[in-house]
Amino acid sequence: MENKIFLKEVTKVFGEKTTALEGLSMEVFPNEILCLLGPSGCGKSTVLNLIAGFESPTSGEVCLEGRPIVRPGPDRGVIFQEHALFPWLNVEQNIAFGKKLRGGVEDEVRYGESVKKYIELMGLGGFEHHYPRQLSGGMKQRVAIARVLVNEPAVILMDEPFASLDAQTRLSMQMFLLELWERLRTTILFITHDIEEAVFLGDRIYVMTARPGKTKALIPVPLERPRRYEMVLSSSFNETKARIFELIKEETKTFRN
């Protein structure tokens, strides 16, 4: 199968000494949810920043649809851990802002309809004129998702997007993301340190080593789609979770020594 994102032997060194990634290779296939899981400080976010184009690799290749990534762009929608909405724009303006930043190269009418469509799809109807500070954490992230979807990205890159939400909101956002994926089948790279979240959402999971980060194991998730909440009680869910837990435990030990 043709891959969507492809990293080959990627090394990233910050400054003189800090090697964040060393010889990391991975690929993301079209229409899958790929989770990248690892202990804190392992360089997960660096991987995302390289794909997003915020940073460039010290050596190695980072490609989207076979072409090397050189700069950030709307074909790779990023959902940050903090919502990163523009506080002076309301919900509707935030979602439509990409077009303005790019100089309005898109068809006005079609883009406008698209903005409306994603406001509805994200359950934001009635909140079009609210400002980010008037929204709950979960709603802010839904606006952030709508803001990238409206640009019809090739992939969505999510950097621990639900980590700062409370447990109940996190669960409902996970369910929401799964429903959304069932409808749109967009390729998603999902970064998390939460094992359960990775197993519940992902088709495949890359477990990372401690710093300098590379992929330690690739775990396929043996759960069918559409995912349902009851699946967290199944034995295959728990076996996968236990297997990953062992892998992570090894890494946290290495990290301490």
Partner: protein, 248 residues
Amino acid sequence: MKRTSVILFPLISFGGLILIWQLVVTAGVFPELVMPAPWTVAKTFYRFFAGGEFFVHLWASLGRIFTGFLIGAFLGVSLGILVGHFRLVERLIDPLIQALRPIPIAAWLPLAIVWFGIGDKPGIFLIVIGAFFPIFINTVHGVKFTQPILLRAAHMLGATSWRLLLYVVLPAALPNILTGIRIGMGLAWVCVVISELLGVTAGLGFAIWDAQVYLHTDKVIVGMIVIGAMGTLTDRILLSLSSRWLKG
């Protein structure tokens, strides 16, 4: 209770000042020519308005202030954004600006007159300089402290460089820019009074310098009160405008 204290307490302090003033006059510490009575000042105040003289001076000063302030604000905001955003521009321009900044505004006046002669221009020049520095410094600060994540989000959405500055960096720095604009407007009033010492025949500053020459101390005080009131008024207008802009 709160309402009464808002009105009553200032009434006590203002009333107290006027009372002390009247007592000093009555005691004859200074001659009437140097220290006019409150009532004399009040009458002069009325004449200043009723005779239309006030408006002639007000328009002359306001014209200089707005011209100079707009130029100074435009330069301060645009240079501030460039210096705050581009490291290279900062290295190039910032040392120069920091070297010029400690020169007191009044020290520019002789040069302003040599360069621009008499009339409005030296005053406008002085106001440009006075308004520029606080607006520039606050803009740089606001731009530098723009959350990096907002810049990343804008790049991710495909922002081109000048649109990034106009649509993201500028609004993100707006609270600081507006603080600079208020300070800059305050300094514009300082500059207009200093500049009207020489080379002009109208203006609130001219009015008090002129009155002082003829020892019309009452008129000097009236002019001071008017300048203070106008400074407060412009500041309040800017404050209400900025709180409206920052609501979003």
